[in-house]
Symmetry: C2
Subunit: 257 residues, 2 copies
Amino acid sequence: MPRVIAISNQKGGVGKTTTAINLAAALALEDRSVLLVDLDPQGNCSSGVGLPKSENKHGIADVLLGFRELRDVVVPTEVDGLHLAAATRELVGVEVELVDADEREFRLRGALRSQASQYDYVVLDCPPSLGMLTVNGLAAADGVVIPLQAEYYAMEGLGELLRAVKQIRKGGLNRDLKTSGILLTMVDRRTRLGRDVCEQARQVFGADVFDAEIPRNIRLAEAPSFGKPIHAYDPLSRGALAYTHLALELIAREEGG
Amino acid sequence: MPRVIAISNQKGGVGKTTTAINLAAALALEDRSVLLVDLDPQGNCSSGVGLPKSENKHGIADVLLGFRELRDVVVPTEVDGLHLAAATRELVGVEVELVDADEREFRLRGALRSQASQYDYVVLDCPPSLGMLTVNGLAAADGVVIPLQAEYYAMEGLGELLRAVKQIRKGGLNRDLKTSGILLTMVDRRTRLGRDVCEQARQVFGADVFDAEIPRNIRLAEAPSFGKPIHAYDPLSRGALAYTHLALELIAREEGG
Ligand SMILES: Nc1ncnc2c1ncn2[C@@H]1O[C@H](COP(=O)(O)OP(=O)(O)OP(=O)(O)O)[C@@H](O)[C@H]1O
Ligand SMILES: Nc1ncnc2c1ncn2[C@@H]1O[C@H](COP(=O)(O)OP(=O)(O)OP(=O)(O)O)[C@@H](O)[C@H]1O
Ligand SMILES: [Mg+2]
Ligand SMILES: [Mg+2]
């Protein structure tokens, strides 16, 4: 069975998609077989690996609504070993369509349990909310990676997300859900704010915070316009090295050793 | 009747809250009477003006659910002429509670039409989604200001938002809704990406793009941790000057002259 990792934070613009794409790519470069799933109707994850939402006929929305099997919507990406279950235009309607549906929280979990066994990791990019798409992601996940932008508003919302994760675990939706780790993103240690938030996060959350920090690095913001993960766009950039560091740390946490 | 301006973009982290707070403050400093409304369950707008969600007993959620009148939840802020209808913990449940309610899209519009006549401007901070809270905002608004972060993913989502605004206008939810303007935010003209996106936005959207650009300025990210708009935290910063420029431009567009 694959290890399923959700990348989630209801705060917007903290680096969820950037982390989902580049962690998945870095894991594939470490010879893991990886499925990336775009659960955000914005479809940034899909376009960030060169498969924009508007060009995808089928995707994860078909699986969540029961129209297609997961294996029928998965496509390869430019990176060896990295596959994608893409966003399509239909994804924006899924939350409303699932309101009265059976097993609505477990649609993704069911599909991954039965049809993703050939992967070592499944990485889920979640939208900036705690709605039904994110709930599907958290119900299907073994662990959640929480990108934390090194700024004030992001710190403020973290408590609410940790409470939601706890409710999903204790409320029975997913008894095994753990926090894989908190990832400091867009870190600029030249600013007092950047240093303060990093220090505060490590003090408050201790070992839950990954050693790996993702620096603010313009190459990470440029890569999506070429539809490439950072390792394919600029493999020697600070952004690429940071996501490789994260992948190695996650492998150590997940696989032991 | 006040001019109601919604600050909206479903893309996360593009500067909606920063724009709502600092535009509202800048308008108040130009001797307008302003009501700021926090429609985002995250409550960043409320804490950004020193009234964090956890400390507010009543707020806009009570008005949307019909429990209180608007005048009973409005509170003054540190800035003369700037009032707030705050977020409370209950706001996170409002979208679900309105699913089957009467006039669910028009709750905010009704409250503002009947109880906000003493204000010159009402500024609405919307969450990063196109759900019922944002729909309430767009249905109540005369104009929408769209913050556009000068980066790739933000440009990608803009078409979808403009389509949604058009649907709200042509579909009858709000026949008078216009785009007040597209605001370039977090602009760093030292990077090629920043220059490219600004140039592209002005080419494609022309006069719809405000002249005022908001530069990336660390003082704007620091101010919320003190619960102050930029003009109260660092009135001579580039961020404060840029939001003043925006307020003057909006006044010229809205009031003529
Ligand atoms: N470390 C970084 N350095 C520089 N830019 C970054 C970095 N990480 C992300 N970005 C850029 O910041 C913006 C926000 O990141 P991203 O879109 O990944 O966040 P998100 O949390 O997925 O947003 P949303 O809430 O809309 O889903 C994007 O334009 C992205 O390219
Ligand atoms: N011009 C700027 N320069 C530097 N930092 C900025 C600027 N504008 C906003 N920020 C910071 O960037 C982050 C994102 O901004 P903000 O929270 O206002 O975006 P948002 O669109 O409201 O996010 P959400 O989608 O979560 O509601 C915040 O930490 C904010 O302080
Ligand atoms: Mg994203
Ligand atoms: Mg906001």
